[in-house]
């Protein structure tokens, strides 16, 4: 992969500006923001360095020029403050879209998200239509504070919806849906996919519904349940194993689409849960719990988990490469599952 310098980190892949009918995952996100802002003046963006600078990863490049500083607002470095303020704006019926510079920084905004945004509708019928974009994941040599996958801390939190696009189409469609959605949505966009995933541009206005998982690849011998960066890893691995693999792309990791997961396992009788979040966090726990409770009788092998160890994300290339699930390591995990 060519390495393009992006901000102060390196993201693999070609420059974002594509010249064909294809667009990158990053462009899909930018286009979704742009289309939503053109259609609905309640939509505005706020975050660190998203205005003139265009964002640490360039996602909002050009939007300041089109929409101005009132709708593409640079904030002071205060995640707890501007996430809280976005919730207040959503309370008033606007459709704020927050960019956290890195998903890791969501720790600073944990309180307004779980305390204010998540609980408000249940106890007062007050809708909070806020979208929080979280550039997530590793493979960018970000180390312990810039490469994490913190979605697991929010999985299981009543009132939140959590989406993790694993394709260009869903990067666009889930973001449009998140902005329209009346509930708080955490949108985890994977930094490594920004410039490595390319596909035909989805039609303007395309929506990916929040909730349903997708069958990214149909198969009969084993199921991979995954999301985010795991989808492209699993697709590549599936092509390389000597078996017919089905891939469930969760897309929404909370609340979970139980039925699609269970239907796939009923068909294949073997399941591998693949995620980039360290093994005891992420979505794996709720997926495994579901499998243990409701798919036990359909299984021909113990449900397998392929995920990094329970450590922070390491920096050194040798360490990070060993830490992250790769196509090769996923092939090994599938072979083991199939051999049981």
């Amino acid at each position: 992969l060519a390495v393009t310098s992006v901000g102060h980190l390196q993201a693999p892949g070609e420059p974002a500006e594509s010249t064909t009918g294809e667009i990158t995952y990053l462009e899909a996100i930018r286009t979704a923001l742009q289309d939503a802002m053109r259609e609905d003046d309640r939509v505005f963006l706020l975050g660190e360095d998203i205005g003139v600078f265009g964002g640490a990863f360039g996602v909002t490049a050009g939007l300041f020029e089109e929409f101005g500083g009132e709708r593409v607002m640079d904030t002071p470095i205060s995640e707890e403050g501007f996430v809280g303020a976005a919730i207040g704006a959503a309370w008033m019926g606007e459709r704020p879209v927050v960019e956290l510079q890195f998903a890791d920084f969501i720790t600073c905004a944990f309180d307004p998200i779980v305390t204010v945004a998540a609980k408000t509708h249940w106890r007062s019928a007050q809708s909070i239509p806020v979208t929080i974009r979280c550039p997530t994941g590793g493979g960018v040599r970000g180390g312990p504070f810039h490469a994490g996958s913190p979605e697991g801390w929010f999985v299981g939190t009543a009132g939140l919806k959590i989406v993790c696009p694993g394709s260009v189409e869903d990067a666009y469609g889930l973001l449009r849906e998140a902005i329209d959605d009346p509930d708080p949505v955490l949108y985890f966009e994977h930094k490594r996919l920004y410039r490595t995933l390319r596909a035909d541009a989805p039609p303007t206005g395309h929506r990916t519904p929040i909730g349903p998982a997708a069958i990214a690849r149909a198969g009969a011998d084993a199921t991979v349940v995954t999301y985010g960066s795991g989808v492209s890893t699993a697709l590549e691995a599936a092509d390389a194993v000597d078996a017919d693999i089905e891939i469930v792309d969760l897309r929404t990791i909370w609340p979970l689409d139980d039925d699609t997961i269970l239907a796939s396992i009923e068909k294949t009788s073997r399941v591998l849960v693949l995620q980039e979040a360290s093994r005891s966090t992420g979505a794996a726990g709720v997926v495994m719990s579901l499998i243990a409770r409701r798919a036990f009788e359909h299984l021909d092998a113990p449900p397998a988990l392929h995920a990094p160890p329970d450590t922070p994300v390491p920096f050194a290339p040798e360490l990070e490469d060993a830490y992250m699930p790769s196509v090769d390591s996923t092939i090994l995990a599938l072979d083991e599952l199939l051999a049981y």
Partner: protein, 333 residues
């Protein structure tokens, strides 16, 4: 020492003086009643009161216009009444009834009224500062002449959220008004063990360049006058405003807390001279309001509370079958 009447404050007209007195009475009499019920074991959970702080709650609540929004804390019952809540609504919330403002999902002072622009209380101190800043940002964006208000205690000034929210309000110059209930304690911890400079107004102005005034929080007329001026400055595009209202929390943090950590006699001496209800009553008497009329207002407030309690006590309990309803505005399944 005799009770000290509220300052004359001629800028507050007769109707507002009477409205203010009614709000003070409702908070005091409601809280007396709910505390008695709590001690009888008839209220689940906790009871929080704002005894000694009613003047701030009522004055600031009355300073808002009907299109403004507010996020009260747990000592601002009179603010809820100013925004149209009824004693029955609040009793139902204390009892956890199906028809409470939170459908029994939350208790005591943790409730709001979306239809009246009242955000339901969040317990974590400071959370409401960025929240109302964001609401005020919307008013500014849309060019609406509306104001967003919240209350804070001294405790919130040790929380990072408060700094972030005040800073955003100042940088964005939004129409937010912050009313500080300076009641000298955060639970059991006196303000002297929370901050070095206890002049919060000075800190707000010095730290965030938000205009901040100090007012006697036991003088409800002065609070109304001062907060109303702050609200109008915010409404007129002069950016965020703050008012620090000095008072004393005359109860413990909650019903279970006898506040033995407060110096002996402090609250009694305070009540004798600065009880906000009696201060306003004394001023109304000086205004020439007939003592019989003041007495009738006390009776009317008591009757309103009696009726609210009777209604709330017979309200249905929530059905456990509804527990998961409303987690989402748009359930995905």
């Amino acid at each position: 020492m005799p009770i000290e009447p509220c300052a004359a404050t001629p800028s507050v007209d007769a109707d507002d003086r009477i409205a203010l007195f009614r709000l003070l009475l409702l908070q005091r009499l409601f809280e007396d009643r709910v505390m008695a019920l709590y001690r009888q074991g008839r209220v689940p959970g906790s009871v929080y009161t704002g005894r000694g702080q009613e003047g701030v709650a009522a004055g600031a609540g009355l300073a808002l216009g009907s299109e403004d929004v507010v996020a009260p804390l747990n000592r601002e019952l009179a603010c809820h009444f100013a925004r149209g809540a009824t004693p029955a609504d609040v009793f139902r919330n204390f009892f956890g009834k199906a028809t409470s403002p939170t459908l029994g999902r939350d208790g005591n002072m943790h409730f709001g009224a979306p239809e009246r622009g009242v955000f339901p209380l969040v317990s974590m101190l400071g959370d409401l500062v960025p929240l109302v800043t964001g609401a005020a940002l919307v008013f500014k964006r849309r060019g609406e002449r509306r104001v967003a208000m919240t209350f804070l205690g001294e405790g919130a000034f040790s929380v990072g959220d408060t700094h972030e929210g005040l800073n955003l309000a100042a940088v964005w110059q939004v129409p937010a008004v912050f009313v500080i209930q300076a009641n000298r304690y955060s639970y059991s911890t006196p303000v002297s063990r929370q901050m070095v400079n206890t002049n919060i107004a000075q800190r707000i102005y010095g730290g965030w360049s938000i205009p901040a005034e100090r007012v006697d929080g036991t003088d409800a007329l002065a609070v109304l006058d001062t907060v109303r001026a702050a609200v109008e400055r915010a409404r007129n595009g002069n950016g965020p405003q703050a008012v620090e209202a000095l008072t004393v929390r005359m109860h413990g943090h909650a019903g279970h807390d006898d506040a033995r950590y407060m110096p002996s006699g402090m609250r009694e001496e305070f009540a004798e001279r600065f009880d906000p209800i009696e201060r306003l009553a004394a001023r109304l008497a000086l205004d020439g309001v007939d003592p019989g009329a003041i007495g009738r207002m006390r009776e009317a407030a008591t009757a309103e509370i009696d009726a609210g309690l009777a209604e709330a006590e017979t309200a249905p309990a929530p059905d456990p079958g509804t527990l998961t309803d409303g987690v989402y505005a748009k359930p995905p399944w």
